[in-house]
Every structure is written in C-alpha cells, then in structure tokens.
Amino acid sequence: MTTDINLFNSMDENAWCPGCGNFGILNALKEALSELDLKPHEVLITSGIGQAAKLPHYINVNGFNGLHGRAVPPAVGAKIANKNLKVIVNTGDGDSYGEGGNHIIHNIRRNIDITHFVHDNQIYGLTKGQGSPTTAKGQKTTLQLEGVKVDPFNPISFAISLGCSFVARAFSGDKEHLVYVMKEAIKHKGYALVDILQPCVSFNKVNTYRWYKERVYKLDKNYDCTNKEEAFKKAFEWGDEGIPIGIIYKEKKSTYIDRTPQLNSKPPLINREWKPVYAEKFMEDFI
C-alpha cells in the first residue's frame, strides 16, 4: 500500500533557488512517505531557520517551523505528547550542528524515536555564504576571506561515538538511494540521524553537484552496518578518497518511549484521561 504522493503537495510558493539541492530532498521525502503509506495528518515535520528549514511549507504534513537551532526540542516534545505521530526534523547543517548542537548530543542519549534529516550543503545559504560547521578548512567564503580556519565538524563520527542508534549519509543527487535511506531512517526505532549532502548552487562553488557525484559511492552490499569499528572507518572517509553513502551504523537499543512506563504501556499522552479530583489524593503528602 502506498499513499497518493499528490496528497503531500503544498500550494505554497517555493522560495528556493533554481537547481537547489533541497528540491531533491523534498521530492525524495514525499516519495518515502508515500511508499511507507503514511498519511499527511500522521506526520509532523519540525524545522529551525534557514533555506532547508522552509521545507515544512512545501509539503502537506503537519509542520512546526520554529527557531534557529531549535528544530529538535519541539520534535521531542511533540513525540512525547503524541507517540503515534511520525516526527521528522528537516533542517540545515548550521541549524543542526552549529546553533542547536547541544540538542543532538542529548537526543542521541535519549534515543527518542524521531528522524533527523540534515540538509548539509556545507555553507550558510540564507545569510549569504558564510562558513558552516561542515565547511572544509581553508575554503574561502564571503566571510572567511582567507579561508575557514577551523576544522570541519564530522557528524558521522560524532554520532557513532555517542552511540546514535542510526547513522546514515545520503546525497540529494541520487534520489532512488536517498528514498531508500529515508525510508529506513523513518522506520528505525530510535534517534536516526541522516546527513544529506546537497549542493548550494548560489554560495558553495566548491561542493557542487559534480564535486559530490565524482566522490560519493554506495556502501557495498556486504558492508556490516552493525560493526562499530568498520563504521568508524567509514565515518572518516571523505573528499577525494571517496565519500561513502548509505546506512553507516545501526544499533538496536531501547528508545525513550520504551524506557518511560507512562508512555510505553499507555495510550498517547494526548489521550490521557484526567480530572482535577484525581490529584486530591496527593494532599496526603502534606498532612
């Protein structure tokens, strides 16, 4: 069973640049949701601020377009409130790894059942071309005129080292593969981080479609994504030596909801039945 993909179409006018990598991600996401037979009202997409973060406007599902760097906490709150919602975070590299970096660390620890798609174009687009946490060292930008001085952030090795239960990388220019990774990530029980490489046609003149296309390669069918040591090796492969895409690391782990009896064995919190008099018994604590 699949859902009619047209149900996911939004009437909102799109503000992305022509040729932007975000289009590939948006189209793949619609396909993934459709193939997973999810209905628009069953999905919530949260985002922060940036070009990628406009995605909730361009797809017809529930959306919460919050503050810069704060796409993840509302997703967590919403998932706790209604565990039946499929909660997906779609936002950029600046939003995920820069301004809200702290939230990734702690939600990997929570292993809450949400999917985090990072639109990683290795640059700040909406603010017009400054270096992002994933911009290569030495790359010249509109702000770092002599080149970026600091080491780039490696989201893959970072997530694996924290014990993230699903770590993947994909490329917006390979839709079929991206749809596959997205579906696996959405189906995964726990926190799933997918770093999606995408070109910024306006501000990143280094990491172009061609640059990525020449370097990405799909992980071999025999690759064992449950082997942490192998995963670490893959995490550090980058640049001219090739960039592996696919599910790099996966681990079975209890989720936040499994660990919370009030959520695990109960109906969703939004259906909690409560009357004020039920709290009357707590006055015994104060006698």
Binding site: P56, G66, P73, N102, H103
Partner: protein
C-alpha cells in the same frame, strides 16, 4: 499566640531533617506552622538556618524575634543570640565551646551514643524542645514510624524521650487547635496546581530555587501518568514544552531568572505561533548568577517585555502557597483559552517557605482546553491555524486530530494557513490579531487583594510573596490605630487598575514595598495609571523583608 524556633548549623549537619521532623510533630499536634529557610549555595560548611514559627492562629510570615535557638554549632549562637526574646533560650550540645546567658548545654551527643546511633542527637534536641514548650509526647511515635524505618524509628524515639527528660518546662503552654490543615511550600503548591489542572508534560533544567516544582512532579510521574523531562538546557526545556503543547497536551516549564533569560527568544516563539504555554520564573537575586539560594523580586520589569518583538501575555505573581495552587491552575486555562503565554512569578521565599493552610478544594479547579472540534473545519477546505476572527483567537486543532487535515505553525510572520509571508497587509492583520488578545485578557484580570483599615491614610502596594510580611505589618499598625491599608497585586499584567485608582484618590500617602532596587511595581503603576508612589521601601540584600522591618519603616519614615 505563637513562638519562633531557630535551628542553625553548617550545611550538611542535618538541619533540614531536624526541621522537617520538628515541624511535622508540631503540625500533627494541631499547631499552625510557618517555616522558612536561609541557606547558602554550598553542600558543606557555611551557616544555614531554618526558622519554625508555630502557634494557634494561621501564620503568614517569618519573624525576626526568636524564642528558642537550637544551635548545632558555635556560629549559630553567636550570630543569632542577640535576636532572642527576653525569655528566650538556646540549646546546644555540651561539647560546643560557647557560653551565653539562657544557654542549656545538654549531653545530646552522649545520649545519641548511648542509644546507639550518633545521628540521633538532633532528635534528643527535639525532645528537649518539646519539654520546654510543655508539649506532651503522645502519638509522636506514630510520626517516627512514618519518618524512619523501624530500627531507626525506635532509636530516634528513645533519643526523643531521653532529651525530654533532660530539662524542665519553660514556656507557657498553648493549647493547639486540632484542625485538618495541610503543610506545604510554594513550589509544591505550584506542582500540585499543575497536576490538578492536568499538566501532562513538564520540561525543565534544574535551577535553584525552582527545582522543587520539577522534583515534586517527578515523584508523581508514574502515579499521575505524566512525563517530566530534565532537558539539556532551558532553551530545550521551553522548546520541548512548546512542541508538546502544539501537539496537544498541557505543558509547562519552570526556571529561575538565569534560565528564564535563556528562554526569552522562545517566549516570542510561543507568542507568534500562538502556542499555549505557562512558564514559571521562581526569582532569585540577579544579575547573572547573583545569590543563587536567596530571594528577590527583581524580574518583574524583565518578564513584562521579555522576548524581542511584541506579543500578548499575562503575568501573574504568586502571593502564598494557596494562591500558588489556584493561580497555576488558572494560568493553564487562560493560556489555552486565548492561546497565549502566561508567566507566573514566584521567588525563593515563597518557593521554600512551608505554611499550614486549608486543604485545597479540587472541585474549584476546572480544565478548559480550548481545543476546537472537528466541525470547525469543512471537509473540502484546508485548515487555517491562524484564521482571522473577531476576537483574534483562531480555532485550534492539534496535529493528527482530523484525518487528512494538517496543522502548520511558524515562527516567521505567516498567513492564515501558517505559511511564511512578507506581505505588509498580512503582517498588519496578524499583529492586530495577536495583540487583540492582549485586550481580551483584561476581561480575565483579578483585582489586587486589599488588607487593612477601611478608610486608610496610607496605602501600601506590593506584589507576590511580600503578601505575608505586609499583611502582618498592617495588622500590627492597625492595632495601634494607624490607618494603613495595603493592595497586594497577584495579576500584574495586564495591570488591574480599579482598586488602585479608587484608593489612590482617598489616601494621603502611597508606599510601594518591593524586594528590588528600582521599585519595579511602582514604575509599572506609574506607566499604566499615572499614579506616583510617594515613598518606597525597597530591599535587595537577598533576604526577605519581615513584618517588623515594614512596621518600623512605616513608623519612622512614613508617619
């Protein structure tokens, strides 16, 4: 008639346990209690003290006059002995190298050793205290069985009896009134109000003095079926609460000034996304880290406009544990009814003081969710989360509520569907839509509570936790035929004006009493009404003003 007992020592000596046990005994005996804490931001050492006032009438504030000191160290005797009443006494262990008039040096540690547990020396002190006040030991063993496990209960009870036998009656016995009170502090009352009113999700980052709210809720998590989440920081805490509220549960967050500062951007997020949210700021002295374990009312001006841009909001200050319970429940209803931010203001004094009060009436609590039903959106049309309506309040659906209808919220300026817009016309409409709710909130506001003489010459104005000390000061002044009245504000934004304007016309002098440097309520009153306070009593040393300070200042500086 009431007495005041001070228990002092260094951090880690067990004064908290001692005060809990003593206050529980006195409460169960039928006395009214008022217990307040003065503690330092450290785990060991320093000087901490707790005062327990007990008596036959309800007690609203702490007192600077002491009848009995239980000193666990020399420091306590030296710091507090000057505040002893004429008939006052000090008790301490015989090993403490100190001398003073009215001092009973007792073999408390020796008793503990003989009983077989060195920790029970404090309980021996409690025995001596009960004897000094001629309070019979009857039924106290039952309290011990609740408080300790069986072996420890027995040893403590033995120590209590030995302590009781050490000493003679000293204070005049007052007959307790056996009433069915509860004994609760401000933080616990907020938590209980939130529980009663159906909060299902509370996210916070531990911060003194607000942590007690989270702690109590966490203890009830499974029994009540709620989720309490310790967030990675206050920004996550408020954003989780906003996400949970957006998804359809009653959510709340709490912190103190520093954490509240971190939350400010997200207050605007709640405002522009019209997500119902209650945030409690349990104030402590700032700025920055300030005095972490002490008290102040210096966040009022800040919370009135906290967040960039303009949003509708309501600000309610809490005046007592009873007020904390009912107002928390009220705040949750207002937040959902108008889809607005409601900020509750408490402070360390109110958070930590323990008072005996009438049991809460849970039948008075209602839950009004303000969630629209499915009929609010037609089958063939898209749901508009921000539909323009006459009142400014749009029908609120939650994600997943109706098949194939989606809900979109946005922190950018947005059109009725929630999509980003830069249209000047839509922007104007949306600003007016949201700010209209500020006007609507005026229908909800409650006038300040008036205390004191019917036609006063002097009007005191205060807000929040100074309620108790001001009440007691006014009663004392009135008993000397000084015509003083007081208006104590609970709701501070929108500011209720009616009572204030009525009294302001009649009185000769208006005095604002606040725990801050700049007189923030007085500024607000002047801004909103043009009424100027003639004099100010301001305190910003981190210690709660007591009734006697107010009483004395009125007599020396106002009359």
């Amino acid at each position: 008639m009431n007495y005041n007992i001070l228990i002092g020592g260094s951090a880690g000596q067990g004064i908290v346990t001692l005060s809990q046990l003593l206050s529980k005994i006195l409460k169960r005996k039928g006395y009214h209690i008022f217990l307040n804490k003065d503690y330092m931001s450290r785990i060991r050492g320093g000087h901490n003290f707790i005062q327990i006032r007990f008596g036959t009438e309800q007690i609203f504030s702490h007192s600077p006059f002491i009848d009995l000191i239980i000193a666990l160290d020399k420091n306590t005797v030296e710091i507090h002995k000057e505040k002893l009443n004429e008939n006052g006494k000090i008790i301490c262990d015989e090993s403490i190298d100190v001398s003073s008039d009215n001092l009973f040096k007792l073999p408390l540690k020796e008793i503990a050793k003989e009983v077989g547990n060195s920790k029970v020396f404090g309980t021996a002190a409690i025995g001596a205290v009960l004897k000094l006040f001629s309070i019979p030991l009857k039924d106290i063993n039952k309290i011990f069985d609740e408080f300790f496990d069986s072996d420890l209960s027995n040893k403590n009870y033995q120590a209590l009896i030995r302590g009781y036998e050490l000493i003679n009656n000293h204070f005049e016995y007052v007959e307790p009134q056996d009433k069915n009170h509860i004994m609760i502090n401000g933080n616990q009352a907020v938590a209980l109000g939130a529980l009663a009113a159906g909060v299902s999700f509370y996210s916070a980052y531990p911060m003194t003095p607000s942590t007690g709210i989270m702690t109590y809720l966490a203890h009830k998590e499974e029994e009540a079926g709620i989720v309490v989440e310790q967030a990675e920081d206050e920004i996550a805490a408020i954003n989780m609460a906003i996400g949970a509220s957006f998804a359809g549960v009653r959510a709340m967050t709490g912190t103190s000034g520093g954490g509240f500062s971190l939350m400010t951007e997200s207050l605007g997020l709640a405002g522009i996304t019209e997500t119902p949210l209650v945030v409690i700021d349990v104030q402590r002295p700032g700025p920055a880290t300030g005095l972490p374990t002490r008290t102040e009312q210096s966040d009022l001006s800040f919370v009135l406009t906290a967040s960039h841009g303009e949003i509708p909001r309501m600000v309610i200050s809490l005046r007592s544990p009873a007020d904390a319970f009912y107002q928390t429940a009220r705040a949750l209803n207002i937040a959902e009814k108008y889809q607005v931010l409601v900020i509750l203001l408490s402070d360390q004094y109110l958070a930590d003081y323990v008072q005996t009060i009438e049991p809460f009436d849970f039948k008075k609590i209602t839950i009004e969710r303000g969630i629209a039903d499915a009929s609010s959106v037609k089958e063939n049309e898209d749901y508009k989360r921000y539909k323009l309506t006459e009142t400014g309040v749009s029908p609120r659906l939650i994600p997943g509520q109706i098949e194939n209808k989606t809900v979109l919220a946005d922190s950018d300026e947005h059109n009725e569907c929630g999509h980003i817009t830069e249209s000047a016309e839509v922007r104007t409409n949306m600003m007016e839509k949201r700010m209209k709710k500020q006007e609507l909130l005026k229908e909800e506001i409650q006038e300040p509570e008036y205390l004191g003489a019917e036609s006063p010459d002097i009007l005191l104005v205060g807000w929040g936790s100074t309620y108790g000390p001001i009440k007691e000061a006014v009663e004392r002044l009135n008993s000397e035929n000084i015509k003083v009245g007081a208006l104590i504000f609970g709701d501070v934004w929108p500011l209720p004006k009616e009572s204030l304007e009525k009294y302001a016309k009649k009185v000769k002098t208006i005095v604002n009493i606040e725990q801050n440097y700049t007189g923030q309520l007085a500024k607000l009153i002047r801004q909103e009404t043009g009424i100027k306070c003639d004099k100010s009593i301001l305190k910003y040393d981190g210690r709660q003003i007591n009734f006697y300070e107010i009483y004395s200042k009125i007599k020396s500086e106002v009359l």
